[in-house]
């Protein structure tokens, strides 16, 4: 056998055994049902039946099944991310690798029609409740706040413009609190207002939001000195890191602000009828999804009741319609509000007007970040008959 033939044999043998090895590994390795990294339930084995073959469900599920359970999935994704960085690409899977260890989600100018549609439905709904006070807080995501930290020459469309546009749409009934107004002063400081690897704001960012809201409500916000500030984890690699898998990214720290004057709160989650004495779920600190430490993550409806001395009560009941930016901000409000009713409209399908009536709520806070707001088609539920 000459050298050429040997080379051919190695190539054929190597290729065929690689295919077979992957197939065998795939079939032999234990199947996970949930991916911590991707934070989602993985595709289950497809069900073989004529109707599933006919309507393509079988082929779609089978493909999803193979890709979801492909051996060493994360390592492959990391290899790809490495290659992209080697070729000087500054983004991967929609995430920029910015300066100073900051990762950013790309932000592209949305179509105004959508922003307008969502704002209008909020506006109309608010107008139907003339007796209630309404505030709309719209916070930029980190890319909106730190354009100078984007990769060299990269540009992002302006969230400032989007926020101004939404403010214009909401004029009248709602008081608009623009994140750019209360966060801008802190951007040049040393204290991060956003996580570098995640799409949320830090607890400090949330504190600034709380201060702004308190002032607007006419309350005296507690100074930072009224809190014990502790770091609960230093190994938080958030959603931006998960998606991009960029290497060499320093993990974030998560801080928690505990009032020095202790409060007794009870958190009731309506979804599973559970109650808890704590605003924080420490079990998440050892998992991938560490931000869910705040309030235990997303719930359709929860109430947070706080026993406050009468002198400290500024408001008896507040309804918060929100995205997950609220999770780190709500704990601050417990020092002022006896009952927080917190609704996440993606999961809550009840009639919100009725809920307000039933609970005698006179004050509402909408809290969203700009990127989420532009995708919040669930706000349209406010416009349907059942919500009125």
């Amino acid at each position: 056998m000459n050298k050429g033939q040997r080379s051919d044999r190695i190539l054929v043998g190597g290729f065929v055994s690689a295919l077979l090895a992957a197939a065998v590994l795939f079939l032999a390795l234990p199947m996970q049902t949930f991916s911590e990294t991707e934070n989602r339930v993985l595709q289950r084995p497809p069900e073989l039946s004529w109707s599933h073959i006919w309507n393509k469900q079988f082929s779609l599920e089978a493909e999803g099944f193979v890709t979801d359970h492909f051996p060493m999935r994360t390592s492959w994704v990391q290899l790809k991310s490495e290659m992209e960085q080697l070729r000087l690409q500054q983004e991967n899977n929609g995430i920029y690798k910015g300066k100073g260890g900051y990762l950013f989600e790309k932000f592209e100018q949305p179509d105004d029609a959508k922003a307008k549609e969502y704002a209008e439905v909020v506006q109309r709904w608010a107008a139907m409740h003339p007796e209630a006070g309404m505030t709309f807080m719209l916070a930029p995501t980190s890319i909106g706040m730190y354009p100078e930290r984007l990769p060299w020459l990269a540009s992002a469309d302006s969230q400032r413009d989007v926020n101004a546009f939404v403010k214009e749409q909401l004029k009248g009934k709602l008081t608009f609190l623009n994140g750019f107004d209360f966060l801008s002063d802190a951007t040049d400081g040393n204290r991060p207002i956003y996580y570098r690897t995640d799409h949320h704001w830090t607890t400090y960012g949330a504190y600034l939001a709380y201060s702004a809201y308190s002032k607007q409500m006419g309350w005296e916000p507690l100074p930072e000195s009224a809190f014990n500030i502790e770091t609960v984890t230093r190994s938080f690699l958030g959603s931006y890191h998960t998606r991009s898998q960029f290497s060499g990214v320093k993990p974030d720290s998560i801080e928690v602000y505990t009032p020095k004057k202790p409060l007794h709160t009870t958190v009731s989650v309506a979804d599973d009828r559970s109650t808890s004495e704590s605003l924080y779920d420490t079990s998440f600190l050892s998992k991938k999804d560490k931000y869910s430490y705040f309030l235990g993550g997303v719930h359709a409806l929860m109430t947070i009741k706080t026993e406050l001395p009468a002198a400290d009560v500024q408001l008896d009941k507040l309804l918060v319609i929100k995205d997950s930016y609220a999770h780190s901000m709500l704990p601050f409000l417990t020092s002022h509000v006896q009952e927080l009713h917190v609704i996440d409209m993606r999961y809550y399908n009840g009639n919100i007007s009725q809920y307000m009536k039933d609970n005698g709520i006179q004050q509402v806070l909408f809290l969203f970040n700009t990127a989420t707001f532009l995708e919040s088609s669930e706000l349209l539920k406010l416009g349907t008959k059942s919500s009125v």
């Binding site: 934070n39 989602r40 193979v66 492959w76």
Partner: protein
């Protein structure tokens, strides 16, 4: 199913290879035919009926044609019927809605659209079947009497969905007798991996640049961004398509088939005439053999030849899609070819090599603009941006960003478009390259399906 999917690579392909090689020789075509049907039905469970219909029709017409004592009229009638059936299938599924919407807009009528999805590969397999009937008619090949062999010819999964368009005469003999040597199989693996890498590593990534550019508004686009975008598209379409052809040819080798080449470094062309000898060769030869030559080719005087060129290229354009821009694209090349035939080529021959090269590339790039935009306003807007007619500056920061983040890839693409970089036929360098390309391709394939669900983000 597509070749560049994990399911194909790591389940379907090994399964077919095992089935094929453990089976006795006489049923191997049956194995290929059946697995090809599974391959097709995977994405198109319903439309498999249409493919089978086309196959059965042409198989029967072929048998009819081979009967002795047919009058020339009858023989012509049989060929015509076959062509009518195939073109009817193609027209109904590919062109009906185009026709209806044009009739509607011209006559102000309101005929409902069929809204049918295009059956995968219909443009390819109808052309293959037609070539078969015409070749039998011309006496170039014997009619196939074995329906499994004929079915294998039409449905053969390596070339079923995106070519190359294999003419029956090329593989008639291979359907009966073919030998797979280790050497041929190794060549197949090499071609397949190169094709996979072209598609997954090169075409898909430069495609992201084109996606970014084509999705931004042309009215404010700096000229250099537009040029960068269309260059990206040119690379994307070439590496995508030729990568697919490489994979098809490589897979064919693994089962003992030798298909004709489909691309020959088209971007090194020195003229448009040259380009079309190098681009999608199997389609060009098909139109030459079954349209251009029957129309009289170049044998009936210059005027008729020029007419024939225009007809063939408008049809070539239209074959690519049911939309005016594809016809325009074909016509554009038809006109250039007419110019080249009449005087331009003589002029080019006297010019330096680099002038010819730039001439050809510029015309090809502009051609891709016509190809890329189905909406005429978008097309016009983009052409305007390329010449700076929208009043935007020549470049901006974003141009710089798009350029430097893709510079290395663009250099690789440019080199890979020329014959400069040739993988050695055998030996350790080739083995290492194949290994690296394959591993990286799998990494990019896995990443494409990586789908973190950020439920907490909302």
């Amino acid at each position: 199913m597509v070749f560049s999917s994990l399911l194909f690579l790591f389940l379907f392909l090994p399964a077919v290879l095992i089935l094929y090689y453990v089976s006795p020789r006489r049923i191997r075509n049956l194995i290929l035919f059946l697995t090809s049907l599974v391959f097709y039905a995977w994405g198109e469970p319903v439309y498999i009926v249409i493919m089978l219909l086309s196959t059965v029709t042409d198989f029967s017409f072929g048998l009819l044609l081979s009967r002795p004592k047919l009058s020339p009229r009858q023989r012509k009638g049989i060929v015509a019927s076959s062509i009518v059936v195939n073109l009817a299938l193609l027209s109904y599924f590919k062109y009906a809605d185009f026709l209806i919407s044009n009739v509607n807009s011209v006559l102000g009528t309101n005929i409902p659209l069929t809204d049918l999805a295009l059956p995968i590969g219909i443009s390819f397999y109808t052309f293959q079947s037609m070539s078969y009937i015409v070749d039998v008619y011309r006496g170039k090949v014997q009619a196939q009497r074995n329906w499994i062999d004929f079915g294998t010819f039409v449905a053969l999964f390596p070339q079923l969905v995106a070519g190359p368009i294999v003419q029956y005469s090329v593989i008639a003999e291979q359907l009966k007798n073919r030998v797979v040597t280790v050497e041929l199989f190794a060549e197949g693996v090499r071609r397949f991996i190169i094709g996979l890498a072209k598609k997954v590593l090169l075409a898909n990534n430069i495609g992201l640049l084109w996606h970014t550019v084509s999705n931004s508004s042309a009215s404010e686009m700096p000229a250099l961004t537009a040029w960068l975008g269309i260059i990206a598209f040119s690379f994307q379409i070439y590496f995508d398509f030729s990568g697919y052809s490489d994979m098809a040819i490589g897979l064919g080798h693994m089962f003992g088939f030798r298909f004709n080449e489909n691309f020959n470094k088209p971007y090194t062309a020195q003229s448009i005439t040259d380009f079309w000898r190098r681009w999608h060769i199997s389609l060009g030869s098909w139109f030459r053999d079954y349209v251009y030559i029957p129309l009289g080719g170049n044998r009936r005087g210059t005027w008729l030849q020029l007419r024939n060129i225009l007809i063939v290229w408008v049809l070539t354009g239209f074959w690519h899609g049911a939309s005016w821009n594809f016809m325009l694209w074909g016509l554009y090349f038809g006109v250039i070819l007419v110019f080249e035939k009449t005087w331009l080529l003589r002029l080019l021959e006297r010019s330096p090599r680099w002038v010819r090269h730039i001439y050809a590339l510029l015309l090809i790039l502009v051609g891709w603009v016509l190809f890329a935009f189905e909406q005429m306003e978008q097309l016009g807007g983009f052409l305007l941006a390329m010449v700076g007619g929208n009043g935007s500056p020549l470049w901006d920061a974003n141009t710089g960003y798009l350029f430097y983040t893709n510079a290395i890839l663009l250099v690789i693409l440019a080199i890979a478009s020329t014959p400069l970089l040739k993988l050695p036929r055998r030996g350790p360098v080739q083995l290492i390259c194949c290994f690296v390309l394959f591993v990286l391709s799998v990494a990019y394939l896995v990443d494409a399906t990586f789908n973190p669900f950020l439920y907490f983000r909302f």
